[in-house]
């Protein structure tokens, strides 16, 4: 079952902050975050592991609440280059096949 992402879309002005949420109905081992620009392949941003620390990638950070089976991606002081569709991919514990299930994505638009 796909994780649920919210919001579906968000429009920002350059320099503003945004939060994208990812919620699963199943227990999670890890959460991956990817960004996809139009016409390109998704690009890895970060991975959060059960019991791990909050991760950062430049001005983008993320958290993972294992009990609530939720992850949030925080984009601080957004730049034009942050525009794209953000996907979370979730991995369940106990699996040996490293399969990720992706959400439907959040379209982020950063305007000047």
């Amino acid at each position: 079952q796909q994780p649920v992402q919210s919001p579906q879309a968000v429009i920002l002005r350059e320099g503003e902050d945004a939060v994208i949420n990812c919620s699963s109905s199943k227990a999670l081992y890890s959460v991956h975050w990817y960004r996809q620009k139009h016409g390109e392949a998704p690009v890895f941003l970060m991975i959060l592991l059960k019991g791990g620390e909050q991760m950062r990638h430049e001005k983008i950070s993320a958290s993972f609440n294992e009990k609530k089976q939720q992850s949030s991606l925080y984009l601080t002081a957004s730049q034009l280059s942050y525009s794209g569709t953000y996907f979370c991919g979730t991995e369940q514990p106990g699996g040996s096949n490293y399969k990720l299930t992706f959400g439907k994505g959040t379209l982020l638009t950063v305007n000047p």
């Binding site: 890890s30 392949a41 690009v43 996907f87 399969k99 990720l100 992706f102």
Partner: protein
Amino acid sequence: DVKVTQSSRYLVKRTGEKVFLECVQDMDHENMFWYRQDPGLGLRLIYFSYDVKMKEKGDIPEGYSVSREKKERFSLILESASTNQTSMYLCASRGLGPYEQYFGPGTRLTVT
């Protein structure tokens, strides 16, 4: 740099044709995946393979099959293409452990 390459960026086929989509990765990854991406639906897993000749169904395997005869190559086969299989197809690979997944550039398939 890790590379995941796909045989075609664009493909146009007729209804009923047998279609082969090829994917090659150069990082000796054990796991390979085929996704389809449709607007508003995110990335949905079709099939994946965790070893040569080993495969498992993903979330939407109907109408597709796969082949993995060599570790670096993973093929998606549409036995009899239908118009509802018009989509963007993304291949990905991932090593063992909590590591990122690498995506290919995608093949946009149109079935007429």
